[in-house]
Symmetry: C2
Subunit: 230 residues, 2 copies
């Protein structure tokens, strides 16, 4: 995809990466001018990238009010995680019907990479954890399934940024290797169960934080510092 204009792609890609890696947090404004300056391109070019990110659900583009990083609600979060369960179940089911050899090879290479950067480079570690799921989807050979998984994994990052306190990527690696083991054993049911459990864990950690704080709504934050009856 994204065969379109040459100049807007880097803008799109950088913004996307920044959002996924939570450098740009939910609610942050994305003014066309300043972004254009950053990348030395015109607003026209920036806009085209923003339109695309809006279509993917990572950016919220409102008429006359510009773009900002999407702020998923708790309902959307649940919706997205449920959809993710569906898509990744499909991935596992398909993989288990295929020749396991090349799949396992690719997965193990990736897992090694994950382990390598664990406790070394947090940002990279988190990215790799997400890419594990995208790799799984790509290995099915289905372009459209891979696209959907890619999109939904990105949106889950956004949810994490919004609701989770901090994210420990460590637990992920062990669970990833268990999924691989299940595929290797040819046990489709166990693989599916492992994946389900894994995603459940991610969701639980993501949505643990109960207070639905709006990170850009200053008054809501300040309200917690008001001493009652003082």
């Amino acid at each position: 995809m994204y065969k379109s204009s040459t100049r807007s792609f880097p803008v799109y890609d950088s913004l996307r990466q920044a959002i996924i890696e939570q450098a740009l947090k939910p609610g942050v404004k994305l003014p066309e001018d300043s972004i254009g300056e950053t990348f030395s391109v015109s607003r026209t070019t920036v806009r085209s990238a923003l339109v695309r990110l809006d279509a993917e659900g990572l950016v919220d583009l409102q008429p006359n009010r510009g773009a900002s990083v999407a702020v998923p609600t708790i309902e959307e979060a649940h919706d997205i995680f449920e959809m993710r369960q569906c898509l990744e179940r499909e991935v596992i089911e398909r993989l288990c019907k295929m020749d396991a050899k090349p799949i396992l090879k690719a997965l193990k290479v990736h897992l090694a990479e994950e382990k390598k950067y664990l406790d070394v480079d947090t940002t990279r570690s988190i990215r790799l954890a997400g890419e594990f799921h995208i790799l799984l989807a790509e290995l099915t050979g289905s372009r459209i399934l891979a696209n959907y998984v890619n999109e939904i994994v990105s949106r889950c990052s956004l949810i994490l940024a919004r609701f989770a306190q901090a994210h420990s990527a460590k637990c992920g690696v062990d669970e990833h290797s268990e999924i691989i083991a299940a595929i290797e054993a040819g046990d489709a049911d166990r693989a599916a169960a492992q994946m389900h459990q894994h995603l459940d864990g991610v969701q639980d950690r993501a949505l643990l934080n109960p207070d639905d704080q709006d990170k850009d709504d200053v008054s809501a934050i300040l309200a917690r510092y008001v001493t009652p009856n003082a």
Copy 2:
């Protein structure tokens, strides 16, 4: 979605509708200039609509070569139909876990509409057949699932335009009512089976036509009109 610019939405929507209804056939060029004139907007505005349609897979946007209606390959067609089976299975599963009453009510209203325009208004009939599936997805209450189904149903229209000889929408209505009946009976398995069978039928009819002709390749078409040894 599409909270963005006011002026580009009508362009996006019209193009989308025209593609789905097969007025714009796969491979047709979509020059920014002429589209802009049609809608009395600038190329800038048209472009933003095209970027979005490209993201949805209905339009193919190539650098320096402009936009054209996407031409799905037979491989993509199979991929998309397989994905559609997955998504609609999910829809059925979710609906069968919900309160059937309001769902059935909405479905029956829609089915009546389908029957009303059958053999009367072919274009409308085809649109309603597609919207039945979108309605099912919307009734799950999942925004993202509905979006995905919406997108994939559109792309199936494109596949039909590309590969099917002609489309008879009639068979669809009967099968739709059978799906509704299964839901009404509370028989989740049968509902799923009916849906699977229905989509299989659509796919078979769509991909029946074996000759992978390129509709915009004039020479290939003309070649068939050359009288040999004349």
